[in-house]
């Protein structure tokens, strides 16, 4: 049995949905952060899949951009999270509503 592109896309959609729901429902900032990464990689997966299905290198090359940007984002995001954990022990995202209008 050959695994068609549809399978990969379905998997990517599933991963994206898990990530999105995770961001929306979880309170732990670290978990939310991982969910965001999940979403990013789900998108990467679709890129690669489409690149292969359409025989176009564009999708694959774009993945590298996403990876680089994600790496940079991880640095900043983890930096913020570490800073938060230093100030308060085990804070959830809801505890951090200082910017309430």
């Amino acid at each position: 049995m050959t695994v068609g592109g549809e399978w990969y896309l379905t998997l990517a959609a599933a991963l994206f949905t898990i990530g999105a729901v995770g961001v929306l429902v979880r309170r732990n900032v670290l978990v939310m952060f991982m969910c965001v990464e999940l979403m990013l990689n789900a998108v990467n997966l679709t890129f690669v899949t489409f690149a292969r299905m359409l025989d176009d290198i564009g999708g694959q090359s774009l993945v590298f951009f996403v990876l680089v940007v994600a790496a940079a984002e991880v640095v900043v995001g983890l930096g913020i999270i570490v800073a938060i954990f230093r100030r308060r022990a085990g804070a959830t995202a809801d505890d951090l509503h200082l910017l309430k209008g």
């Binding site: 929306l24 429902v25 809801d94 209008g101």
Partner: protein
């Protein structure tokens, strides 16, 4: 010198700059000498230029002196250039000459003033501006000088600005003059639109072919400007109040020179006036009415300087009467003689005020002839000159004007004659009150007279007029103690002050010689002829008529003097013939206050407290309220919870996705 004519205005400018730089350090009296020598040198330059011009052919006596291009924008080009012709040189001669004498006098008069050097700074700046006004070869350059003298006038009227009345008088002069300047400016715009140039030569050249309505408008608007500067009806109100300034200022600016600028301007554009007979008639009527009106008011004033102020307005009215009658030479003639005798009278009045320790009320003077021989002798000469007694200068010039007015219209002549009678009366009244009679100053200590002088309602919002002058003047002006501790007795002024009086008195006696009405003796007429050319009105009356008119004028003058003699010398009636309405100048100030000032104030407070406070501030505050209110509602969106934002993002992304799908027809 004709090629270096720029020296004439430059010297006072240099004097001004030097005084600005080192005046305070130079102090008294060096600052005064610097100022006086700058003007004196300028006078000498003018004199040389005058003789060079005199040495030329009759027709070649007009020299344009291009200095530099001042403004060049598109088709608009203004060259700064000087115009030296008989008219401007005549003016420049007596401005610098009389100006020099008054500078000398001021060194004595301003003795002990704490702002001694600043006075000469202003005075030199004034002479520079006045010379630019006179010598400028275009309306714009004249306007530059026009505004310059206006500014100096303002600064000098309110020279003793510690005094509320002086500060207000300065403001009043400034504001009233703005009205006239407005007319001047519109006339300039019209000139540029019509002739494409602002130079006198171009305007006069183009006037022949210009449409009549435009010419009339230009002439009329220039006359409005002249009315403001020369204190004619209805814009005269600032001049009597201008007497708040130091007396040399009154003599120089508000009698001899600046106020004659309007007459000069009219003479400068004489060819335009010649083409607009309606405007000329208007000028004659306004002049005659002003002359009569001011003469009546002068009869009832008690302040020695105010009498002279109204007299100045009246004499300026004569000059406009002459301008309107086409007798430009007569106007200039009277301008020159008036500069001599009115400067003399003002300086004499200043000497009296000085000698009596800042007393200005004539009712508190008397018998000063014994105490101040030089002042009284020269003052009496000035009086005879202005009253029109032959052979003094004023007789000849006034007679010339009356003759021309007679040819224009016998009614104007009658008004002028009546004015001459009144002039003789009020001047005789002044002389008799000040120099003859009882020594009333003995029982009137200067410090206690605040309520006696009937002050006119000066300006708008202060009732205390010249009455304060005497009292406060002591503080600001050199107090009597500054003169060396003599008592309350009047004293003759020092020679630095008396000297100019003597020179001016001599000029007032012989001034008539420049233009005697006997053929070749009419030197001024011959001299000014090339300037006015065809626009000049030539008298056609027979010598019989001339003699009759002159005899009638002399009789009128003698009648006025005789009447004053009977009243003040024989009957000793101090308060005779002073109706209250004349004291208040026919209530014109009150009328302006009621008709213009009060509604103006109401309008301003409406603008300030309703338009500004309610409408403009309302719009601004309303905008702020709207922004703040909507912000208050919208801030609820900003919860601070990341999940809410994430939900928003997800929702928005879904929405966008849905929209894209619908658009692409995928569903």
């Amino acid at each position: 010198m004709l090629d270096n004519a720029f020296l004439i205005p430059l010297l006072p400018l240099v004097g001004f700059l030097v005084l600005v730089a080192v005046g305070r350090r130079a102090g008294e009296p060096a600052a005064g000498w610097i100022g006086a020598s700058a003007v004196g040198a300028s006078f000498l330059c003018t004199l040389v230029a005058f003789f060079e011009l005199l040495g030329r052919e009759h027709e070649a006596r007009s020299v344009g002196d291009h200095l530099f291009t001042w403004i060049q924008v598109g088709g608009f080009r203004v060259d700064a250039g000087l115009l030296l012709d008989p008219l401007s040189i005549t003016m420049a001669l007596f401005v610098t000459g009389v100006g020099f004498l008054i500078h000398l006098y001021s060194i004595g008069y301003m003795h002990g003033d704490e702002r001694f050097s600043k006075f000469f700074v202003y005075l030199n700046l004034f002479v520079f501006s006045m010379l630019m006004l006179i010598l400028g070869d275009s309306l714009l350059l004249t306007f530059l000088g026009w505004e310059g003298v206006g500014a100096c006038s303002y600064l000098l009227i309110s020279f003793w600005f510690e005094r509320e009345s002086a500060a207000s008088a300065g403001k009043k002069a400034f504001v009233v003059n703005r009205i006239g300047d407005f007319g001047f400016m519109i006339a300039m715009f019209l000139c540029f639109a019509t002739f494409g140039t602002l130079q006198y030569a171009g305007i006069i050249e183009g006037a022949e072919g210009a449409p009549q309505t435009t010419l009339t408008a230009i002439a009329l608007l220039l006359f409005v400007g002249a009315c403001g500067k020369s204190a004619q009806l209805p814009l005269f109100v600032w001049l009597p109040d201008a007497m708040e300034g130091p007396t040399p200022v009154s003599a120089l600016i508000h009698a001899a020179t600046m106020v004659t600028a309007g007459v000069y301007l009219m003479a400068r554009v004489a060819p335009v006036l010649a083409l607009t007979p309606d405007v000329a008639t208007t000028i004659a009527i306004v002049g005659a009415l002003t002359a009569f009106f001011a003469a009546t008011v002068a009869c009832a004033q008690n302040d020695i300087k105010r009498v002279l102020a109204y007299s100045t307005i009246s004499q300026l009215g004569y000059m406009f009467l002459a301008i309107g009658s086409g007798a430009y030479v007569a106007a200039i003639f009277h301008m020159v003689t008036h500069a001599f005798f009115k400067a003399l009278l003002f300086l004499g009045a200043g000497s009296v005020i000085h000698g009596l320790h800042d007393e200005q009320d004539m009712k508190r003077m008397g018998a000063l002839r014994k105490w101040m021989p030089v002042t009284s002798a020269t003052f009496i000469i000035g009086w005879l000159a202005i009253a029109g007694v032959p052979p003094f200068a004023g007789f000849w010039s006034k007679d010339d004007i009356l003759l021309n007015a007679y040819e224009k219209s016998p009614i104007l002549w009658a008004v002028g004659l009546l004015t001459a009678l009144l002039t003789a009366y009020y001047m005789a009244r002044q002389v008799f009150l000040v120099f003859w009679g009882a020594e009333r100053w003995r029982d009137a200590p200067a410090a206690a007279n605040a309520e006696l002088t009937e002050p006119e309602p000066i300006a708008v919002d202060h009732g205390a007029g010249s009455a304060d002058t005497a009292v406060v003047g002591h503080a600001a002006h050199a107090g009597p103690d500054a003169h060396g501790g003599h008592g309350r007795e009047p004293h003759e002024s020092p020679w630095l002050m008396a000297g100019p009086l003597v020179v001016l008195a001599a000029l007032s006696v012989v001034g008539g010689l420049i233009n005697l009405p006997f053929g070749s003796w009419a030197r001024l007429e011959h001299w000014l002829e090339p300037v006015f050319g065809e626009s000049l009105h030539h008298v056609e009356a027979t010598s019989g008529t001339k003699l009759t008119l002159a005899a009638v004028a002399v009789l009128a003058a003698l009648a006025g003097i005789g009447f004053a003699y009977a009243t003040f010398m024989k009957a000793h009636r101090l308060d005779a013939y002073e109706p209250a309405i004349l004291k208040r100048a026919w209530g014109i100030d009150a009328l302006y206050a009621a008709v213009i000032v009060t509604p103006g104030r109401a309008l301003s407070s409406f603008a300030a407290y309703v338009v500004d406070a309610k409408i403009i501030d309302g719009v601004v505050n309303g905008l702020g309220t709207v922004v703040r209110g909507s912000g208050g509602v919208l801030r609820k969106v900003q919860t601070g919870y990341v999940r809410n934002y994430a939900l928003g993002v997800a929702f928005g992304a879904t929405l966008l996705l849905g929209w894209v799908m619908v658009r692409s027809g995928g569903v």
